[in-house]
Amino acid sequence: MILCYYLFNWVQMYQEEGLNSAVIFRLWVIVIVAGILLTILGTILTNIVLSIAHAIKTQTNTEPRFIEDERDKLIELKGVRVAYVTFSVGVLIAMITFALGQPPLIMFSLIVLFSVIAEIIGSIAQLHLYRRGVQYG
């Protein structure tokens, strides 16, 4: 959703007035702050919805066992590693574009884009590990 907002504004700005650094940096800050706030809000809402769904499904008032055990932590760590590598590659690509003479705005935009892509790939990697199984090492 945030990525769509960012890309929509970016394309609109590009078509209308070209890349204006002051505006795009403001957009960049909005995207990052909105990302953090929405993540916190999303986590709280997800927990509330899951608790309600659990209560309805089990017809009890007991606390659901949303525990994170060692396997979850291992999978999360591996997912974060995948996301980190993806983001590192993205930063490298962004820096290469800058070295090749592109404006700094392209570099910053690529960094924002790759941070979102890295999050998505990290989550996909976690889903894959939950399905396939995971081993230490």
């Binding site: 066992r65 525990i67 055990d69 060692e70 396997r71 979850d72 939950y130 396939r132 199984g133 995971v134 081993q135 230490y136």
Partner: protein, 75 residues
């Protein structure tokens, strides 16, 4: 080094302990049912501490719960 993998008898042990469910075992050792399913299915090798906790629930030595056998089936 020959290839080995961690095997287990959890399903059999659960059956011999009043047909204990995966959920009950999970609660007693403090993990999710999904983790017990993954261990039973050989998709996850637990930590040493969790392995000991599982053995403790069944009241048997660790070797009776887990094995470390060669992939070709030899011991």
């Amino acid at each position: 080094m020959d290839k080995r993998r961690v095997t287990n008898n959890i399903r059999k042990l659960r059956f011999h302990h009043n047909e204990m469910t995966q959920e009950q075992l999970a609660e007693q050792v403090g993990v999710t049912r999904q983790t017990i399913i993954a261990i039973e299915g050989g998709k996850y090798a637990p930590s040493l501490e969790l392995a000991f906790r599982i053995a403790l629930v069944f009241g048997v030595p660790l070797e009776e719960v887990f094995g470390y056998t060669a992939e070709d089936g030899s011991a």
